[in-house]
């Protein structure tokens, strides 16, 4: 048993700042009721046959009861020397057998006022690094002499409280680390995603082009891609597609696919040839091991003298593009029969042509959109998308570009969690009034 000189000013541990930091680090000042600590306090009281016991944490100027047995709802007391405030200065148990005759407790309000404490025994709550957070203590209004066994039990109870605080701290640390790791993974996935898509679409004279990427999952990189770029003969090429799989492997495949298609277009801009070229590259790259495929639509835009655009499309297993006609109809530009790219021995790609006149648009999308679940549980499907566009996107007046992409984005928002896969969108529109287009494209 240690004794300490009686002082009237609160004696502080040498490393009080470090001790307080530990109190906060352990979340020891949490105020929510705590059944584990309540049990420990009542067990302490029972072991001593005493009316009062607490699990107390010593803050800078107050002592907070994390649990209090027999103290009529008291939550805290001032940090005044004599009882708990003195107990935290000791390495081992701190015992006052009769506060009325003990100089250390002189002036303590719990001794001199209500409830008139005469007996006090405490076992400190000491961290692995030796910081004392508080104590498990027992109080009585009668003087008493505790047995060694009772003091041993009190120390065991303090060790139990410390174990509990250590385990909670470790849980908090694990959760925090996991959260940080996940945030970092999300950040990386998004950064990677951005590098796989063109930062902005180029301006095509007489045409308005817009694209959007809708991410279904924040922590898994999907494999959708698109691009729009000039050919060296005044025409433009574009593509949209979707690689199989998710994550880093899919991202690598997406990157390979996008650069292969751009290079293929320089070599031979025929849409079927571009897909055939991609097919050879993917087969060469993923030979043996883990075969991969993608689906894609590759197209060439030919600006015609009347302001319209001739469109040649080739499809490799990709959902049909949809043309929004000037008369308000929605027409699928099907490349049905075209096969997926990169895995089949001798794939077939299907070519088709169409023309976009003033006031008409072409919507290209990936199957994240058509495979989205509607509120009734079914898939939206191509038919559902056509119906939606016919009802909402055409005849919205003036600006088909804005109407189209805005309309699809509204649809994606409405479908919400029904959209379970990434979705890429590209809209190509010939403005109804060509002079406006020129101005806005300048």
């Amino acid at each position: 048993m240690t004794t300490t000189p009686s002082t009237t000013s609160p004696a502080l541990p040498v490393d009080e700042a470090a001790r307080l930091a530990a109190v906060h680090r352990y979340g020891a000042l949490e105020t929510a009721p705590d059944r584990a600590f309540d049990r420990i306090a009542s067990l302490a009281a029972r072991i001593f046959g005493a009316p009062m016991a607490t699990v107390a944490i010593v803050d800078s100027d107050r002592i907070w009861f994390r649990a209090a047995h027999g103290l009529a709802g008291a939550t805290h007391t001032d940090r005044v020397p004599g009882l708990c405030a003195s107990a935290v200065l000791h390495g081992g148990p701190y015992v006052v057998t009769d506060a009325r005759t003990d100089s250390r407790t002189r002036g303590n309000p719990l001794v001199e006022g209500d409830p008139g404490v005469r007996f006090y025994a405490a076992a400190p709550l000491t961290t692995a690094r030796g910081h004392c957070l508080g104590a498990v203590d027992v109080l009585d209004t009668r003087p008493r002499r505790p047995t060694a066994a009772q003091l041993d039990s009190l120390q065991d109870l303090a060790a139990l409280v410390m174990d509990e605080l250590e385990s909670r701290l470790s849980t908090v640390r694990t959760i925090t680390a996991e959260r940080e790791r996940r945030t970092e993974a999300e950040r990386l996935a998004r950064a990677l995603q951005r590098t796989l898509l063109p930062p902005a679409l180029p301006e095509v004279p007489g045409l308005r082009a817009a694209a959007a990427y809708h991410t279904a999952s924040t922590h898994e990189v999907g494999g959708d891609f698109y691009d729009l770029f000039p050919l060296d003969d005044g025409r433009w090429a574009f593509f949209i597609g979707d690689v199989c799989g998710k994550g880093a492997d899919a991202a690598a495949l997406t990157s390979l696919t996008r650069y292969t298609l751009r290079a293929a277009a320089i070599y031979d801009p025929d849409p079927c040839a571009a897909l055939a070229n991609l097919d050879l590259v993917l087969k060469g790259e993923y030979q043996g091991g883990d075969p991969r495929y993608c689906t894609a639509v590759f197209g060439v835009l030919d600006p015609l003298s009347d302001g319209s655009f001739g469109v040649t499309l080739a499809g490799g297993g990709h959902p049909p593009a949809l043309a929004l006609r000037a008369d308000g109809t929605v027409q699928p530009i099907s490349t049905m029969g075209g096969q997926l790219v990169g895995m089949l021995p001798d794939p077939r790609f299907v070519r088709t042509t169409t023309r976009l006149s003033a006031g008409e648009s072409l919507l290209l999308y990936t199957d994240g959109l058509t495979e989205a679940r509607t509120p009734d549980g079914g898939m939206l499907g191509e038919e559902g998308l056509v119906r939606y566009l016919a009802a909402n996107a055409v005849g919205a007046g003036g600006d088909p570009q804005h109407a189209l992409l805005g309309c699809v984005e509204t649809l994606l928002e409405d479908l919400g969690r029904g959209v379970s896969d990434d979705t890429a969108l590209m809209a190509l529109s010939v403005p109804a009034h060509p002079e406006t287009a020129l101005q806005e494209n300048r």
């Binding site: 799989g245 495929y293 075209g338 096969q339 895995m343 089949l344 021995p345």
Partner: protein, 118 residues
């Protein structure tokens, strides 16, 4: 974290010369290894292989790539591969990506087995 999806692949011999893989559950990125292993162990060079998908509840692009791997193995071994019990929804996906032109489809494994007999 979501629960890992559940998939079972049961190998069975329908008749002599017809080897069946019954696929039940969700075939996706997380479960497809199970079918990949079964396909790798299937006796393509000795028998015709049937993959029954009537118990399939979900199939993503990774699942489809395993089915194409099976097709490529059967081609390399000059043997037959049939898919049976394909749901209308799944068939629409096969049509979209051009796989309806690749596989032979039958309603049941028994039908596929008898169609395969010389």
């Amino acid at each position: 974290m979501t629960e890992p999806a559940h998939l079972t692949v049961t190998p069975r011999r329908v008749t002599s010369g017809a080897f069946l893989l019954e696929v039940t559950g969700e075939l996706d990125y997380h479960t497809s290894t199970l079918l990949t292993e079964a396909v790798n162990e299937a006796p393509f060079s000795d028998e015709s292989v049937i993959i029954d998908l009537s118990g399939l509840t979900y199939c993503d692009s990774t699942g489809i790539s395993v089915l194409i791997t099976a097709y490529n193995r059967s081609r390399a071994a000059s043997s037959r591969l049939s898919l049976t019990g394909v749901s209308p929804d799944q068939m629409r996906v096969f049509e979209l990506i051009g796989l309806d032109q690749v596989f032979s489809f039958y309603a049941t494994p028994e039908e596929a087995a008898s169609a395969g007999r010389p």
